[in-house]
């Protein structure tokens, strides 16, 4: 039986007067990879920002394991185990790779488990081990993305929110990153993945939601979405 780990119920979010999310309802079950696909400005990142507390919803509820989190400040949501790898990566450019990763474990402050987690991140991303003393800002785009995901993993997430991990990366790297995302999921982390690259996202996800101007227009299993005609036309570039 699957249990809803993260649940959004009719969430409305505004930026000032701009109505960005117009009633989003979605669920993420334990152990799943769920993807949110949609074009620019559909509200994908806003959905993630709303979950992680960077924006607060005007109405609607967000439940994590059955308790409401939509009024909690961002840092407390992180403490609950919902970690975000933010859009645009946002690594700390003037800190080293190691310092960046240590920052990810900020909420724990426990040197023993931190070592284990560092090992885990280095096993997932061997490139980061090679770059350990290098400043974050001097890494290549792909390495920065690895660092951003690795940094989020250092916080031991139960739910990992990934915002556009493929953005600006070469196709080879995109494939590599998505393989690693699947590995992370197999190790037990639930993932909510926001992507413009619908093809890749649907290939790794279990289920998906299609977002259009702040509304969910479709939701189904990833396989069903892949064969859905509208999705194929609008997001997969097939005729």
């Amino acid at each position: 039986m699957t249990t809803a780990m993260l649940e959004l119920q009719d969430v409305h979010t505004y930026y000032g007067n701009i109505h960005a999310l117009k009633g989003i309802s979605l669920t993420v079950n334990q152990g799943e990879i769920v993807t949110l696909i949609g074009s620019n400005g559909a509200g994908k990142s806003t959905t993630l920002r709303t979950i992680s507390g960077l924006n607060s919803p005007r109405t609607g509820q967000i439940l994590f394991n059955g308790t409401r989190i939509d009024r909690l400040p961002a840092h407390e949501i992180v403490r609950l185990g919902i970690l975000q790898s933010p859009e645009g990566r946002r690594i700390f450019p003037r800190l080293t790779v190691l310092e960046n990763l240590e920052m990810g474990a900020f909420t724990r402050n426990d040197s023993v488990t931190m070592k284990e987690d560092l090992e885990r991140v280095y096993t997932l991303f061997p490139r980061l081990r090679e770059r350990i003393a290098q400043k974050g800002g001097t890494l290549s785009g792909g390495e920065q993305q690895m660092l951003a995901i690795g940094r989020a993993l250092m916080g031991r997430p139960t739910v990992l929110l990934l915002d556009e991990p493929s953005m600006g990366l070469a196709p080879v790297l995109v494939e590599q990153i998505f393989t690693i995302i699947q590995d992370i999921n197999k190790q037990g982390t639930t993932i909510l993945l926001v992507e413009q690259n619908a093809l890749m996202a649907l290939a790794v996800a279990h289920r998906g939601y299609v977002l259009q101007t702040g509304l969910i227009v479709l939701s189904d299993s990833a396989a069903a979405l892949q064969s859905n005609e509208t999705v194929q036309k609008a997001y997969l570039g097939m005729e």
């Binding site: 992180v78 946002r90 700390f92 920052m103």
Partner: protein, 483 residues
Amino acid sequence: MQTRIRKSMIGAAFGFAIALISGGFAGILAGLVAGLINGYVVPEAEPLADKRRAIVQGLTVALVGSVLTILGIVLRNVVIDPIIGVPLNLIGVAIAAVGAVLLCVLVSVVMCVVRTEPPARERIGMAIVVGIILVTYPWLDQFLNLRFMNEVIPVLVFLLMALGLNIVVGYAGLLDLGYAAFFAIGAYAAAMVSSPHFGLSLSFWLAIWVAAAVAAIFGLILGSPTLPLRGDYLAIVTLGFGEIVPIAIKNLDNVSLSLWNYPLFVDVDLTGGTKGINPINRPWLPIIGEFSPSNPIPWYFLILGIMLISIFFISRLRNSRLGRAWTALREDELAAGAMGINTVNVKLLAFAIGATFSGLAGAFYGAYISAIFPESFRFDVSVMLLCMVILGGLGNMSGVILGGIIIQFADRLFLPQMSTVVQKLIVASGNESLRDINFASDFRLLLFGLTLVLMMVLRPQGLVPSNGSARVLPVAAGEARHD
């Protein structure tokens, strides 16, 4: 070898300048400074592990340092002094030159040898060298008849504030242009409870804690409205705060407050207005008794003690969880939030803790001059502190101390001394029209501005950058972010 001599020129230049400008036996101090700077700078550029080679290294840098220092001594005491009407004293010149060489050689060789030790012992060794110089300085000053002590103490007060400002600007990346306000608040808080003004007359040792606490509270008060602000916007709010506080203090000499027509107090003089508060209690200790205004030595050791304790606490803070949170905040506020850092609390703590050190400095300063006036805490104090922090290197304590020492001594000792010498030279040359130029007061702010501009252009990371990473002013860093 070439780097060794080139790097030795840094200390040598300081030795030359000090000997030239200060004159008299200050040449001996110039030799000491040249030796100290070269003993630090040269092994840093050319590390050696071999003791014998280190001694040679020390002797080479001392040679370069002494030659220029002696040149300064000769130029001043033999060439300039007779022109400006100081009788030539060849024996004095010889003593100054020999003293300068001896101290320069001693300090550079010891420093170069210490620098060959493994890191832990090296740090202890350097601390001992610097400690000996700091502890013996008051007597050296007296012995050489330098009379620098009355300037050294305010220099240390400003260094303490620069260290506090460095927490806010260097560690947390919050540009604060009104930091002198906390100096004023600390000074007034201590003065109010430790003077006959309200009849409280608490001991200095209690008042200094009151000052720290009140400054911290005002740090929170300033911090809270600035929470959503960043970079330039934050700078403007803090600038306003720095202007409001001295003006408010000036006008709080006639305060009445009533609650629903029921007067709580009428015409209370809180701050003494433009007259300030005077006198303020001086510290008292057994054996020493009450610190006297004519003997600077107890004051020197008191502020030195406060500094050392502050440096200890700040370095511990730097390496704590809070210190790491400040780093994250400075680098990227949004990402810091995504790491689970409570950015609100972390910002407020930066303001409060930064203000605490300024409050301590204020309490000491008030007791030291035994009087305070609202005019002592104007905008230029904030600017000077910011200059000190930037010149040395944002976020690096030893850099801030170095930058602070350079700016403060330039401002308090060398500009006035230079101005006196130049004026006398002008008088001697008989050019009446230039008589009224006063370097110290006329060019002071120009020189600060010039320092800031040159540093921003040539070396934005400061003289001693922190951990080799380029840390620049928060405003500039903010532009690199996409927010």
